[in-house]
Amino acid sequence: MDALMKQWTPNLYLYRDKFIQSLQATFEMFWKAGSIAFVIGLFFGILLVVTKKDGISKNRPVYQVTNLLINIFRSIPFVILLIFLIPFTRALMRTAIGVKGAIIPLVFGTVPFYTRQVEVALSSVAPGKIEAARAMGSGTWGIIFRVYLHEAVPELIRVTTVTAISLIGLTTMAGAVGAGGIGSFAINYGQNQYNQDIVNVCVVVLLIITFILQSFGTALARRTTNRSLFPKRRYGKDA
């Protein structure tokens, strides 16, 4: 393995420790920012669907404020957002650089996009199902958890996959605030030092990550369409 690496990608071999570090940084940014954005995006997505005009708990002011905020943050290009948020990040995290400094802008960059995606996913639940649940006496919470979040699972998986892939893309820009990661590794050690082999490997690694995420998401979405993932068998069993 060592010999092979030395032969085919000599420059990468030289910086292999840095490479591993940058992979770790990317991974750390991805899962930290990702899980925070997942929760917040899901929350706002649900909020939008529930409070919209024909929603189960219509609330015009809440809807419009949320909608406006999301539109504003969606319009700001990520690189600008990174520097725009520096004071805020510094106040909150006590630093604006490194992986720690990148989490906040990554969350801000992902949440608006993810919120919209969640909104679309939840809106795909047939209105009739909501009405049936209402007719059975379900309240707002019951409908959110037992109908929206239950029936939209395959769609939610699909949009989460798309968002996760776009988040990987965003992490490569986080190098701008010194967060490291595979993106800045490709620029600093690859492009800037004329090490084409490093750039190439970075592209391949990103391709593989994207491919794995997409295949996993697609498979999971398919397994949950018109099915629950682990259905219980009750036939022939008596109470």
């Binding site: 047939a126 009739g128 199902k129 009405e131 049936a132 649940a133 209402r134 007719a135 059975m136 006496g137 379900s138 309240g139 037992r146 109908v147 239950h150 029936e151 699972v153 949950t224 018109n226 099915r227 629950s228 259905p231 219980k232 068998r233 009750r234 036939y235 109470a239």
Partner: protein, 364 residues
């Protein structure tokens, strides 16, 4: 028991106001099957949705079972003098089951979990739920589908699951919103039969919304005919079929009866309905006690006329026969007049559709 008094509901849309309900009052007896028929947009769906408060009327009053009257003021429901809370509204809905045209089952839940949906509200143990779900599935004849997901079921089976789900919480009322409109004729028939069985067995009141008179004919005890948000006619199904008053009712009935074809034949000017000079095209309608060939034969004999039958039909509504004949009477003018008189004497309703004795346009 459902009592509806003076319900009004107006939808305010950009394109203008739609008066979905205008002063609607109905009384639905406990244990009966009550049909509401109308074309789409007549307000019938809005009417049932007002019963379980999926829609709130602007004004009026509704009484459900033995509950206190619910009054509506400016689209806000009041009960016992105070505004109904969301929780009270949810509790009211649980007293009624509802089934839909598109079934509206949860696609990611098995038949079991769909039926168990409303049982999973607080206060039921797992084994209680289990027992109830199995009971319900037996009732609708789907015990072997307990672990199946809805996409593996036919339309009729899906509707059976929806019925089981609607009955889970032991409601006294079942609301059916076009429940058979998306089903093929066989499935429609079996679902209607099931509803009738449930009505007899459980004593559950069923309110059926439909645009098909055949559905009303098959199972309803009483029917209300709606048009433009108003109830234009109401009564027991037999008398509505025997003597409809409103034009729209007549239209619905002719759509459900083979005799209705005559209108089409007449408007097309078909060969079958051409009358010669002196002949009369008549529609004879029989009721409970007047159905029977012998009346016809005896009138024909007594008046010495001929009856050429074009269309004939006898059907049974609530075990009472209801029938009619469309035919051409021929003979001397005096005899035809006599014949028409005899029919009247025998209590057979006669309607002259085309009169060759006076109509100048009839060929000589």
């Amino acid at each position: 028991m459902i009592k509806i008094s003076n319900l009004n509901k107006t939808f305010v849309l950009n394109s203008g106001n739609v008066e979905a309900l205008q002063d609607v009052s109905l009384h639905i007896e406990q244990g009966s099957i009550y049909g509401v028929i109308g074309y789409s947009g007549a307000g019938k769906s809005t009417l049932v949705r007002c019963l379980n408060l999926l829609e709130t009327p602007d004004s009026g009053m509704v009484v459900i079972n033995s509950g206190a009257p619910i009054t509506f003021e400016n689209g806000v429901p009041f009960q016992n003098g105070s505004k109904m809370t969301t929780k009270e509204q949810c509790n009211l809905r649980r007293q009624m089951g509802m089934i839909f045209q598109q079934f509206n089952l949860l696609d990611r839940s098995t038949v079991y979990d769909n039926v168990a949906y409303s049982l999973k509200f607080a206060g039921r143990s797992k084994s209680e739920i289990d027992k109830r779900v199995k009971e319900l599935l037996q009732l609708v004849g789907l015990s072997d589908k307990i672990d199946v997901f809805p996409d593996q079921l036919s339309g009729g089976q899906k509707q059976r699951v929806a019925i089981a789900r609607a009955l889970a919480a032991n409601p006294k009322i079942l609301l059916s919103d076009e429940a058979t409109s998306a089903l093929d004729p066989d499935a429609t028939e079996s679902i209607l039969r099931l509803l009738k069985t449930l009505n007899r067995k459980l004593g559950i009141t069923i309110v059926i919304i439909t645009h098909e008179m055949a559905v009303i004919k098959a199972i309803a005890d009483r029917v209300a005919v709606m048009e433009d948000g108003r109830v234009v006619e109401e009564g027991d199904v037999y008398s509505i079929f025997a003597s409809p008053k409103a034009d729209i009712t007549k239209k619905f009935i002719s759509s459900a009866s083979p005799l209705g074809k005559i209108d089409k034949l007449l408007s097309e000017g078909s060969e079958l309905v051409q009358v010669k000079k002196g002949e009369v095209l008549v529609k004879l309608q029989f009721q409970r006690d007047t159905v029977g060939e012998h009346l016809l034969t005896s009138v024909v004999k007594k008046a010495d006329i001929n009856l050429n039958i074009i269309l004939a039909n006898v059907e049974y509504l609530h075990d009472s026969p209801l029938g009619g004949i469309i035919g051409v009477l021929s003979g001397s003018p005096q005899n035809i007049q006599k014949g028409l008189q005899y029919f009247n004497d025998y209590n057979i309703k006669v309607e002259v559709l085309k009169d060759g004795r006076i109509d100048e346009t009839v060929d000589a």
